[in-house]
């Protein structure tokens, strides 16, 4: 190729000079339009390709647009996998829409970063206090977001299989203890009927890891960070209880109870009988019930010492701080807060309605319904992921530590490294003050 070393240094200088020149004359006024052109409010959702939920959003938009003349809401949908990158890019160009949805654990980060504005939805049909706590996003005592539903984790199994192996079917009143759970897995493993007795979706990536496994860590008595002030992870994420969790998590693989990396579709493997017990989200409850009928049992999470725990908070609606028509945006938010829409969301997406009033209108979730137990889990066991702007960073570090542990890393040093990195991140960011 045509590299000439001497020229290269010169070239960089010339390029830099040219840059300065171009940058100097082209920096015009920064764009300050904000998603609300005239009376049009733009709304972003992560639901591209997920028509079930998207249809509900479209229906509410239509109702709202038909109900008044002042505002028109316009929908733009994005694929979930890179939704955060789309939002960040738009924010860097000051092009965020007035309304957008946000994954619950990111609310604090986006509020702190100035993406979101606090909202006031008082006077809407459904009061915020009626909602499941995990479906409301607050930061520094201000309301920033709310969701129409939550999801819940549960252990799914076939009743017949548990009975056949003499395994007690646990209840919310008396969940499995760690010892019972390990014994059950050993029994199932011994039967040789399953490729792996337990399926926990270890082939997943991203937010699934802290969502699915940090509640188990919390049930052991550990946590992602010291929640008192959110100033340090050392001593918590790598504390004695957390390391115990890490050892147990690793043992699932070494004892052959669980795959180091699940297949492409873990639920399919469970339904095909490759695994006996699946740790999975409530979104698959309907599919499981349809395939297994009465044989399906929905079990509470294992109590590893500090009680059964599941993750809380799913997708929620928020308003951007650059919205130029905040009245209009909040009018839309208030309009959407009707029990019938809570019902629509839950029915369309097989999720848990955020209010009891809505739950009562859905056969499966009303008292005595076959998924009532999931509402109970969401109400009683849900622990939200730490409400701190540092959460996205904490999440990636926990993912890596958990993945490394399954791959054979020493739990103590993997969690120790994660805790050290998190503390370092907190320090360089001045504990996310401001």
């Amino acid at each position: 190729m045509v590299f000439r070393r001497r020229r290269l240094a010169l070239a960089s200088v010339a390029a830099a000079a040219a840059t300065a020149l171009v940058a100097g004359c082209a920096s015009g006024p920064g764009g300050s339009s904000s998603g609300a052109g005239g009376d049009t409010l733009t709304l972003w959702t992560h639901n591209a390709g997920n028509s079930a939920e998207l249809d509900v959003v479209k229906k509410i938009i239509k109702d709202f647009n038909d109900s008044q003349d002042k505002y028109t809401v316009e929908l733009q949908s994005f694929p979930q996998t890179d939704y955060n990158n789309s939002v960040v890019a738009a924010a860097s160009a000051r092009k965020l829409p007035c309304l957008l949805d946000v994954d619950g654990p990111n609310v604090a980060n986006w509020a702190w970063g100035g993406y979101l504005a606090p909202i006031d939805v008082s006077g809407s049909e459904v009061p915020v206090k009626d909602q499941l706590a995990s479906t409301v996003g607050t930061y520094k005592d201000q309301l920033y977001s709310f969701g129409f539903y939550d999801v819940s984790l549960a252990l799914f199994a076939r009743g017949s299989v548990l009975n056949e192996h003499g395994i007690r079917i646990p209840t919310p009143g008396k969940p499995w203890t760690k010892g019972e759970f390990d014994a059950a897995l050993a029994e199932l493993r011994k039967s040789g009927k399953f490729a792996y007795p337990l399926e926990m979706g270890t082939g997943g990536s991203g937010e699934w890891w802290p969502y699915a496994y940090s509640p188990q860590l919390q049930s052991f008595g550990g946590d992602l960070i010291d929640r008192n002030g959110h100033k340090s992870a050392s001593g918590t994420l790598d504390g004695k209880e957390s390391v115990e969790w890490g050892n147990w998590f690793r043992s699932l693989v070494t004892k052959g109870y669980m795959a180091k990396k699940s297949g492409a579709d873990p639920n399919k493997d469970f339904l095909a009988g490759k695994s006996a017990i699946q740790w999975d989200g409530s979104w698959n409850a309907a599919k499981n019930a349809q395939k297994l009928g009465d044989d399906l049992v929905i079990l509470p999470p294992v109590d590893f010492g500090e009680g059964p725990k599941i993750g809380g908070a799913s997708w929620q609606w928020a308003m951007s701080s650059t919205c130029s028509d905040k009245d209009g945006a909040q009018e839309w938010l208030r309009f959407s807060r009707r029990t019938k829409y809570f019902v629509d969301y839950a029915e369309a997406t097989s999720t848990i309605p955020a209010t009891d009033a809505a739950a009562r209108q859905i056969a499966d979730y009303r008292p005595g319904g076959k998924f009532e137990v999931l509402v109970q889990f969401a109400r009683e066991y849900a622990t939200v992921r730490p409400v701190t702007p540092a959460y996205p960073y904490i999440s990636t570090e926990f993912q890596k530590a958990a993945q490394d542990i399954l791959a054979g890393a020493d739990p103590e040093s993997a969690l120790g490294q994660a805790a050290k990195n998190i503390d370092n991140n907190l320090k360089t960011n001045n504990n996310y003050a401001g």
């Binding site: 190729m1 171009v22 702190w112 970063g113 100035g114 297949g263």
Partner: protein
């Protein structure tokens, strides 16, 4: 040529100004022709790259309520203490060190194979080129299926060895994850370089082969003394393009392993994206990128120096 012009000029001095004018006009025309590309490259490449590199000296974050501040070399100190950075460097170097000779050699073998004058050779060229035209994201998704413990790769291994060898969980084992990604990457990219070698082969005059044939040279001798020297220029080209592509290894990692298991497949560009986007540490990612750029540039220059044409 020059002497001829000089002689002409001596004969008729009037021509001199005209030549100078022509020179100047030539320069202006050339500048005009190069301008669109140069301006576009400056606007869409040089400016953002310089901006990105400048961030390395700040505390810029992906999401932040406060504007970035100058922090000097803090990010560099942090980077040089980061064990994952060294693992990324090592993995990237490992990938490049294996992929460059492997892909170049295999591509040459393929090129020799389809350079034969036999029927259907165009068909084979097209088939070998198939993976090149398939998106890397799609290819990575497909191979994630194939590499599973109960996947097709292991099925084929088991069948070929009559059940004696059970393949590993390719992407789940730190020892095999990187080799598996290397294999797939070569599979995807080798067709392109086959075409480049093929081009080189076709520039070698047929007469040289005929002369070698008359001298009774063996196949090996023909390759060693006619083909190989004839490919000298092509070699440099193939080497440099594969090296640059290898150093940018990212998509496969993102889709297939996310750097795991146990950091066995994390690479420099993957680390830049993970820290910059997932972990929101824009400035740190810029530092990774800047150091990477300097390293690749150095390697390119060394490579250039070692393979320089001795004239």
């Amino acid at each position: 040529m020059t002497t001829k012009i000089a002689a002409l000029e001596r004969l008729c001095p009037v021509r001199r100004t005209r030549t100078t004018n022509a020179r100047r006009r030539q320069s202006l025309t050339a500048l005009g022709m190069a301008t669109p590309a140069v301006v576009l490259l400056i606007v869409f490449l040089v400016v953002p790259v310089v901006l990105a590199f400048a961030l390395a000296f700040t505390d810029a974050r992906l999401i932040s309520p406060t504007p970035a501040r100058f922090v000097g070399l803090r990010n560099f100190t942090q980077l040089f203490e980061d064990p994952v950075f060294y693992k990324s460097l090592r993995n990237t170097a490992y990938f490049a060190a294996v992929v460059v000779p492997l892909q170049a050699g295999l591509a040459l073998a393929l090129a020799l194979l389809v350079n034969a004058k036999v029927r259907g050779v165009n068909f084979f060229r097209t088939v070998y080129f198939l993976p090149v035209v398939t998106s890397m994201v799609v290819v990575s998704l497909l191979w994630t299926f194939l590499y599973r413990k109960d996947g097709l790769v292991n099925h084929v291994i088991s069948t070929l060895t009559l059940g004696h060898v059970q393949g590993p969980d390719w992407l789940g084992d730190p020892a095999t994850a990187m080799p598996a990604i290397i294999l797939m990457s070569v599979w995807q990219g080798v067709g392109f370089h086959m075409v480049i070698w093929l081009a080189g082969l076709q520039t070698i005059p047929v007469e040289l082969y005929e002369a070698a044939e008359l001298d009774g040279a063996t196949t090996w001798h023909r390759f060693r003394h006619v083909t190989w020297p004839g490919l000298r220029a092509t070699r440099t080209f193939v080497l440099v393009t594969i090296t640059i592509a290898a150093f940018s290894l990212f998509t496969q990692i993102r889709v297939m392993t996310q750097g795991g298991p146990l950091d066995s497949t994390t690479t420099v560009v993957y680390q830049a994206v993970r820290t910059g986007y997932d972990q929101q540490q824009t400035a740190y990612a810029a530092t990774v990128s800047l150091v990477f750029f300097v390293l690749v540039l150095t390697v390119s220059l060394v490579q250039r120096f070692l393979t320089r044409e001795k004239d």
